[in-house]
Amino acid sequence: MPDQAVSLRGLRKSFGPVEAVAGVDLDVADGEFFAMLGPSGSGKTTVLRMIAGFESPTAGTVELGGRDVTRLAPFERDVNTVFQDYALFPHMSVLDNVEYGLRVKKVPRAERRERALAALRSVRLEGFEKRRPAQLSGGQRQRVALARALVNRPRVLLLDEPLGALDLKLREEMQVELKAIQREVGITFLFVTHDQEEALTMSDRIAVFNQGRIEQVGTPAEVYERPATAFVASFVGTSNLISGEAARTVLGREGTFSVRPEKLRVVLGQEETGPDEHEAAGTVREVVYAGPATRFVVDLDAGGRLIALQQNLQASSMDVTGLRGARVRLVWHRRHEFPIDAPAEPVIAG
């Protein structure tokens, strides 16, 4: 096995009676852009803080590049953090902020200046050196925070919802930019988000957190197309589960299965279905027209409810909204249905 940038083993953290992190095992490879995705309170920040060294684990170990750092202080670890509130030093100029880490490490003045300016250039902030953080916009502050961390060339960069405070448009710009910067510097990025779209578009791999545990680790395609648990199916994308009676009738199998809404075809007439396709009859309960696509909420005759997303290639809003109450068949290829663990809580050995 090649050296991992980050390895967590049986990591736990309790705050009094609250178990914020309840046994996490995770390996992040060198140079990966890795996302920790999960709802509020699922323990993402706590895991990140234990990797940075701000919090010491109740149990378990943290390894960076194969070296056990569990008991080391933050200043002894080769990681840097981009904080959610950026945590820029308000009494220092942008340049002094970026130079801070180098000054602490006693990098000679000329080299320090050169590296800081290069870091500011890489986040497109040349010309802002003399400003104070208060004189910057949110997006600019975010980039100063990034430059301040990157200039130290850490082995791993930790980012706690780095784009959370930005508006939608700026966030989308920064997503592209962050990804480009990571490719350029080749540093491992480990970033926390509760925005599933952000995680899917930016990361090489994703770990989905729920209640202090990891439910699934995989590439965006794996996590999205083949959610391992009911929680992942519902948290990443829209949950479409077929279970119980419906599974027996429609699929002829026991268990719970997931199908993504855009994989379903809404069929009105007597269209033939292929040999590898499954179909389920039902009644359209709700039609939501959303510009480029339409969402159909269909109550199945066999019990349960599925959501189908159809591109509006031909249809207009008039056509589709008239379908409320219509009898339809939902058709999908069987390779798009995946069995899912029963919704019971998965147990990870700690």
């Binding site: 940075a52 202080a73 933050p74 200043f75 904080f83 820029l88 009494h91 801070y100 880490g101 961390a149």
Partner: protein, 288 residues
């Protein structure tokens, strides 16, 4: 212009209200007029009276105040060796008290603001405030008992005893502003410094201290001016030590020389003005 009375028609009242809303400057000055008048009359007025009195003299035989302008009091003050020594000693005491309070208060305030649990924090604030509810005299006499040669500390009375007692008395006035300043300092800044490789001392020097300096200055203004003006503590634990306050007090009482007392009393005022001007240059007052 006046604000509306209750008898005024609703329209007038509404118009006045909207006028005040639009002209926030007028609103502010109306709101501030009472406290400003109080400050102007009671405080600045008294200060002016003090200053004027300082240029009068007393009749040697009758002891009555002679209301004729003279520099005599100030010439005495500047040329008198005793007074210069007393003024310098007072300055030294105030500076020492401020320094001691700063050194003691900072770690205490830091522990309160950054290390204690929210529950412990509340109790610690109360613990710091409680001595302020006790009478000044009770606290000073408590120290007198402790310092007396057969007391717990047994250091005896004098300059050191005065400095120690004053440091104790004014400590809360240093802790509270610094505590408030540290409360405003986001924890993430401390984390960020550590994250960038700084150890405790460096984090303190480059992040904590610059950002809480204005709070420390605010505290020092209290400890410094309270120490400069004190005359009771010196009387209780100072032994033979004389400070500016005693000179003022003795001239009002025993010597019955009100103009000279006034002249002496301007000394701490001038020292404080110089101190404030010096502090202002550091820019600390802007962020108070």
């Amino acid at each position: 212009m006046t604000t509306t009375t209750t008898a005024a028609p609703a329209g007038v009242r509404r118009r006045a209200a909207s006028f005040l809303h639009r002209h926030s400057g007028v609103r502010l000055s109306l709101l501030l007029s009472a406290p400003l008048a109080w400050l102007g009359l009671a405080y600045l007025g008294a200060l002016a009276a003090l200053f004027v009195t300082a240029f009068w003299s007393t009749d040697v035989f009758t002891g009555d105040v002679v209301r004729v302008f003279t520099w005599a009091n100030f010439t005495d003050l500047v040329t008198g060796e005793v007074y210069r020594t007393v003024a310098l000693r007072s300055l030294g005491v105030a500076a020492a008290v401020t320094l001691i309070d700063l050194v003691v208060a900072f770690p205490m305030a830091f522990a309160m603001a950054k290390l204690a649990s929210p529950r412990a924090q509340r109790w610690l604030v109360i613990a710091v405030l409680t001595p302020l509810w006790a009478s000044y005299l009770v606290k000073a006499y408590a120290w007198r008992v402790m310092l007396s040669s057969d007391g717990v500390l047994g250091w005896g009375y004098g300059l050191t005893a005065t400095v120690v007692t004053l440091s104790y008395l004014w400590l809360p006035y240093m802790i509270l502003p610094i505590y408030a300043g540290l409360e405003r300092l986001p924890n993430s800044l401390l984390d960020a410094a550590g994250d960038l490789g700084a150890r405790g001392w460096r984090t303190f020097r480059t992040v904590v201290w610059p950002l809480t300096f204005p709070a420390a200055v605010a505290g020092s203004i209290f400890t410094f001016s309270l120490s400069l003006g004190d005359y009771i503590t010196v009387k209780i634990v100072g032994g033979k030590t004389q400070l500016i306050g005693n000179v003022v007090y003795d001239n009002i009482g025993a010597a019955n020389n009100l103009p000279f007392a006034a002249a002496v009393a301007t000394v701490p005022v001038v020292i404080m003005l110089v101190y404030l001007a010096a502090v202002r240059r550091t820019g600390a007052l802007e962020s108070l």
